[in-house]
């Protein structure tokens, strides 16, 4: 039977030597023989066991699960596979959320300010489109200032309004006379 050194199968499988040593240590894959000087010698049977380990690993099974699968004839049970399917579905949902968050962050970084692509003119247009006239807009500023002065300030700055103008709008909203 053809035999292989640890470096040889590591290279052939794209695994590191230390991974194979680890598999040996945890009893997942022991070389079937050793040379006189103690080097591990793997045969075809070991190689096919390793191929099976890698296949199960790619399907997301843990080393512990793989060990128990191999110890009981090499076929994973339905329950184990279903459990793995369920976990995979959970991970997909998690990854999708991550993707969405990242896309949102990218948009924010790209636009450089918050709430991003909304500027003063756009905002006024939107309020007008909703049927707000100048009087209603003034009432809106008054309400905003009364309920959340900090939020008002932040919102005005986020529209790209200069601080001096924001201060003027806010003082008018508080019913203080303009200058």
């Amino acid at each position: 039977m053809k035999t292989y050194s640890i470096s040889r199968i590591a290279r052939a499988c794209g695994l590191s030597r230390s991974t194979l040593l680890y598999y040996d240590r945890v009893g997942l894959l022991r070389s079937s023989a050793r040379t006189g000087s103690g080097y591990r010698v793997y045969n075809e049977k070991d190689l096919s066991r390793l191929a099976r380990i890698r296949q199960l690993r790619e399907a997301g099974l843990s080393l512990k699960e793989i060990r128990s699968v191999l110890a009981t004839g090499g076929k994973p049970g339905t329950r184990l596979l279903e459990e793995r399917m369920r976990k995979t579905a959970e991970e997909i949902v998690g990854l999708k959320n991550q993707q969405r968050l990242l896309a949102g962050m990218l948009r924010k970084v790209a636009s450089g300010k918050r709430p991003g692509c909304v500027d003063k003119q756009m905002w006024i247009d939107m309020l007008k489109a909703a049927g707000m006239d100048q009087g209603a807009m003034n009432r809106w500023h008054t309400e905003f200032e009364r309920r959340s002065p900090d939020g008002h300030q932040e919102f005005l700055l986020s529209l790209g309004i200069p601080p001096s103008e924001a201060a003027r709008i806010r003082s008018l909203s508080r019913g203080e006379p303009g200058n």
């Binding site: 918050r114 692509c117 756009m122 489109a129 009432r139 309400e143």
Partner: protein, 61 residues
């Protein structure tokens, strides 16, 4: 900078100045039609969760 105005504050302010439910819906549709990106970032700024944002934006389409 942390936003300390949430969506309920916002709705309350719009109500106070006379925007009813139908008007607000119309406003979202217009916002979505004219400035989809602005609509998205405004809703994010209000602290809405991604699925709520999707729901509001698709209702406005």
């Amino acid at each position: 900078m942390k936003n300390n105005v949430n969506v309920n504050d916002w709705i309350a302010m719009f109500r106070d100045i006379g925007l009813d439910q139908a008007k607000m819906k119309q406003w979202h549709s217009l916002f979505e039609a004219r400035h989809p990106n602005g609509h998205q970032s405004f809703l994010e700024w209000l602290g809405l969760k991604p699925d709520e944002i999707d729901r509001i934006r698709s209702a406005g389409r």
